[in-house]
Amino acid sequence: MLQRIRTAPPRYWLVVVVVLFFAGFPTVISSFQAGQWALALILAIAIMGLNILVGYSGQLSLGHGAFMAFGAYASAILAHRYKMDYLVTIPIAGLLTGMVGFLFGVPALRLSALYLALATFALAVVMPSLIKRPVGLTGGVQGISLPPVVVPQLAKDGFTMLTGSAMTSDQWVYYVTFAYALVLFWLAWNLVRHRAGRAMRAIRDGEVAAAASGINISGYKTLAFGISALYAGIAGSLLGLATGYISPDTFPVSLSIQLLVGAVVGGLASIPGPLLGGIFAYFLPIESNQWVPTQTWIPSQIVATVVKAGPAVTYGVVLILLMIFAPNGIVGLATAGYNRLRRRLRGAADRESGHMPPDPQTV
């Protein structure tokens, strides 16, 4: 055990540091900020789902907001109408959404990337009006208000014992989200390193070759859709917990776009990518508003317009620039930088010791 810890590669230490950071820092920031970070983590979970679908299995979805909506409404209806404990409904909502995603994956099998993008995009566009229709079930335009979050006594006591302060409901929501994020990221990490993940990547990189190697193409493609929807469903359900109120307008088309932006910005087909992407996708619209100058001589009307248009413009520009200059996102940039640094360091060490690295071209 000790031996394993001593020889662990540096990225494992990075994981430990990141996990400890996310576990500890809500105790030092305000309760409101903890709530914000919970929302960022929720986006990260949904983006992880999208990443499994787009990054690893190579199927494009522009409609993951619709799956989030499904998960959120599944939870809300179970909690509101059937008086279930909201925490219990979260995994149920995830599984239900996963099944719906699996079913949606079946017709999706027939489609090439482009058609799939169209079909899922249409799904995202239609979802809000579909939700509005069964008023008795979904509350129509009004949406569903959820009962206020109650922090369990055990969590309260434990938190007080560790930090000496009382736990707010925002902090509780944060830790619930954090726990889900931890488990789901760990599962995703295992998934992509093992049989199913390898099969998905093989399909992404060459469907014909994968089929020739005996991989069940349609099975793994629909499986990817199902798993991906499960992640989105849990994220949607957690979103309901965090905001306490959901309506059709909580899940506009732009949410789906936001998820895709996050996935791309963080870096597709990587495990840390969705975390960075979630943070980016949540905080960019908020922060970009604060860059707007608020001098009094600027008419408030103009400021208001800039505030409203700012996030969309920033999103668009960032998305286009990234696709042109860094198609592998932040993680891709970081990996490339790290590799270059390591090569340079190793080169310097080799020169000092007089040892020449083998020329890769002659090997």
């Binding site: 482009l114 079909a119 249409a122 229709r133 776009i257 800039v306 248009a309 413009v313 286009i320 696709m323």
Partner: protein, 277 residues
């Protein structure tokens, strides 16, 4: 019966609009095998330009061609600046870039023109005329007329002129066309310009997708027929199926998309695609 006829006629009117946007999608698809997700936004921006011109007292019949020229130039500009660097990238990259473009154009339009919806003055009067027992407004007739003319011109350009032939060749066989002296990159840019000029005639995205998919995404004729079918179907469903009503017409379009994809993925006029292994 008269009510039914009425619904069909107004269905055809909106179908004409869907058809021209679907045609824009098809043109882009033929010009570079890509669906432009920013088409709707670019059309909106063009509409706002036309609106501003008309608002400043320019006659509609001058504003209209001016807007088309601006949209055409805008389409070419966008292709040269944004699309060209990723021309050879995988389809995922291209789709994401056009999505980024959609968000960007939407934001810019909101920034310049604000978020308040405005009503667009129509050059045709809202008066109705009795046609075969159904009442049709001159406005609808005008829309259908303009769409028909535009569609016809585009069709002639692509199928009957040298430049149309070169454009199609550049899209289908870039290497061979380049060897034969076709300026492939500019032909693609031209396709973009053309598509955004056609898209400028109208608006509304999902219906256009439905129309293009129904007709077969490679077929200009299919886009037109698909547009009309979608227009009529959506209108009839809205009027006669109580569950659908006014606000679930979009869902009908989605149902059409999914049904076509499951039952006949190549659409009504598309050829089955053959893949070389």
């Amino acid at each position: 019966m008269q009510e039914f006829l009425q619904q069909i006629v107004s269905g055809i009117a909106s179908g004409g609009i869907f058809a021209s946007l679907a045609l824009a999608l098809v043109l882009i698809y033929n010009a570079m095998g890509l669906v432009n997700f920013a088409q709707g936004e670019m059309a909106m921006l063009a509409t706002f330009i036309a609106f501003t011109l008309v608002d400043h007292g320019v006659s509609y019949w001058i504003a209209f061609p001016v807007t088309l020229v601006v949209a055409f130039a805008g389409g070419i500009l966008v292709q040269r600046i944004v699309i060209r660097p990723v021309e050879r990238a995988p389809i995922l990259t291209l789709v994401i870039v056009t999505l980024g473009l959609a968000t960007l154009v939407n934001g810019v339009a909101g920034f310049i023109f604000g978020y308040v919806p405005r009503s667009f003055p129509s050059p045709f009067s809202a008066q109705t005329v009795n046609l075969l027992g159904a009442f049709v407004s001159y406005r609808d007739l005008g829309v259908i007329g303009v769409s028909t003319v535009v569609l016809l011109l585009i069709y002639l350009l692509l199928q009957r002129t040298t430049i149309g032939l070169t454009m199609r060749a550049a899209a289908h066989h870039p290497e061979a066309s380049r060897l034969l002296g076709v300026h492939v990159s500019w032909m693609l840019a031209l396709g973009w310009g053309l598509a955004s000029a056609v898209g400028a005639v109208s608006g509304i995205m999902v219906y256009a997708f439905a129309a293009a998919v129904l007709g077969g995404i490679e077929s200009p004729l299919g886009a037109v027929v698909g547009g009309l079918i979608v227009g009529v179907t959506v209108n009839l469903a809205g009027a006669y199926i109580p569950f659908v009503g006014g606000d679930l017409q979009l869902a009908v379009a989605l149902a059409i998309i999914i049904a076509v994809l499951v039952i006949k993925p190549n659409g009504l006029f598309g050829r089955p695609s053959v893949r070389r292994v």
